[in-house]
């Protein structure tokens, strides 16, 4: 059994380092990075929006990989990782979907456009929300991870086709004029801020997945122990 909440535990140091990274990135995002020339201060939301998207995609990729692993091996480790990935991924997707419109309103003049990337993000949010709802509505036991894995594999196969089809749809109509994106020449200090922020968000994502995974494994062990106790009492 791993020791819990002891200062010697390596996870404590990882959490502390993540917190430190978050504080450093906060300084870089608000002070260190220069104010963008045309958009002004609102552009700083970029340092939250893009890293959240990266964290969400990484967590959901983990969900897809773990689900596939579960289908092949039926391992409870894979199931706990898949659940953790979906939950944390959904949380970061929510941040993306909230910061996006806040940024878009002053810059594009609208809260939302049905552009390929936006539509896909919203669709993914609905998908993984329904994945968690399915898990909630399925009776516990071996059935729940199996159905969840079967669903997650469908989602993973669907997302690339989704993106392709929505792009076709949108390229038929003239797409709204979006701003050129960070690729069109990001100032060096902006890039530094972005990279630090990216590292911080990925580290937060990793910590949350790890905590959620540990929690889920502990829950499984507890359920097994309870069952054994019931059996012993009966006999």
């Amino acid at each position: 059994m791993a020791s819990t909440s002891s200062l010697r535990s390596p996870s404590t140091w990882v959490f502390a380092a993540t917190l430190g990274l978050l504080i450093v990135s906060l300084w870089w995002n608000l002070v260190g990075a220069p104010t963008e020339a045309t958009m002004g201060t609102i552009q700083r939301i970029f340092y939250y929006h893009v890293p959240s998207a990266a964290a969400a995609w990484t967590a959901l990729l983990l969900n897809a990989g773990a689900s596939l692993w579960y289908l092949v091996r039926r391992s409870p480790v894979a199931d706990a990782l898949a659940l953790a990935g979906a939950e944390v991924g959904l949380a970061f997707l929510t941040i993306v979907l909230i910061t996006g419109p806040i940024w878009a309103r002053p810059v594009w003049g609208v809260w939302w456009v049905w552009d390929a990337r936006l539509t896909l993000t919203l669709a993914m949010w609905v998908m993984y929300a329904s994945y968690l709802i399915l898990r909630q509505l399925t009776p516990p036991g071996s059935l729940q991870p199996r159905l969840a894995a079967a669903l997650a594999v469908f989602f993973a196969a669907d997302i690339p086709i989704d993106y392709m089809s929505i792009r076709w749809w949108r390229t038929q109509h003239p797409s709204p004029v979006l701003f050129g994106g960070p690729d069109s020449g990001l100032a060096p200090r902006m890039l530094t801020a972005l990279l630090i922020s990216m590292a911080a968000f990925l580290a937060v994502m990793g910590c949350l997945v790890w905590l959620r995974y540990r929690q889920e494994m502990a829950r499984g062990r507890l359920a097994a122990l309870r069952q054994r106790q019931l059996l012993l009492e009966e006999s």
Binding site: S130, L137, R146, L147, A149, A150, D158, I161
Partner: protein, 224 residues
């Protein structure tokens, strides 16, 4: 018995139940008709509405009606431990799922055959509309809905709140298929644009998800 014969037996049984009770067809038919009528109120229908959004109108009506049929596909098995009976049949889960799929596919197509002429009358489709193309799109699009829908319906059969969960699972995964069938139907209705890309997308989608559902049938159709 061979796999195909089991699938055919399951399909024949489902169709026989449907023909005797006409549960799904009646419920779905009225439901889809209502959706069309509500649309005509909601969007103050005239000929220009059909030109702008006819494909969308037709498919939203079909989509909601299909959800009713797909929910019923496994609702039927809930009583009298019928699902257990199916699962102890000496056949692979894929064969049983294929049989259920074929029955749902036939029932939904039957409904569409009734609704399409109604749609043409109620929404004054243009004279030059290419009905061959629309029917071909419907065959492909309904395949996508029925294949995914049967798979998810089997999945939801194990859960509480089945009727709520089915659209939640089916609709987001079906986005590419819905987009393709609406766009292709729109092209055939108005005669403007190209439908080829959309049909290719639909065929690719059908193939990928049919194979995936077939491969994962064991996962969703099983009891503890």
């Amino acid at each position: 018995m061979g796999e195909w014969r089991i699938a055919a037996a399951v399909c024949a049984r489902d169709l026989r139940i449907e023909l005797r009770t006409r549960e799904a067809l009646l419920a779905m038919g009225f439901y889809a008709l209502l959706v069309m009528v509500i649309f005509s109120f909601a969007f103050s229908s005239d000929a220009s509405l059909t030109l702008r959004a006819g494909g969308g109108l037709l498919w939203v009506a079909f989509l909601f009606a299909s959800l009713v049929a797909l929910d019923r596909a496994f609702l039927r098995e809930a009583g009298e431990s019928s699902l257990v009976g199916l699962q102890i049949a000496p056949a692979s889960r894929a064969a049983i799922l294929a049989g259920k799929f074929a029955a749902s596919y036939a029932i939904i197509l039957g409904l569409e055959a009734i609704l399409m002429p109604l749609f043409a009358v109620l929404f004054n489709t243009p004279r030059h509309a290419d009905w061959g193309g629309i029917i071909f799109t419907a065959l492909l699009g309904t395949w996508a809905l029925a294949a995914n829908g049967t798979y998810f319906s089997a999945m939801c059969a194990h859960t509480r709140q089945r009727a709520l969960l089915l659209p939640l699972l089916l609709l987001p995964v079906s986005i590419p298929a819905i987009l393709a069938m609406v766009q292709a139907t729109q092209v055939y209705l108005t005669g403007e644009g190209m439908a080829n890309y959309w049909l290719q997308l639909l065929i690719g989608y059908d193939v990928i998800f049919t194979v995936l559902a077939w491969a994962l049938a064991d996962m969703v159709l099983d009891i503890e």
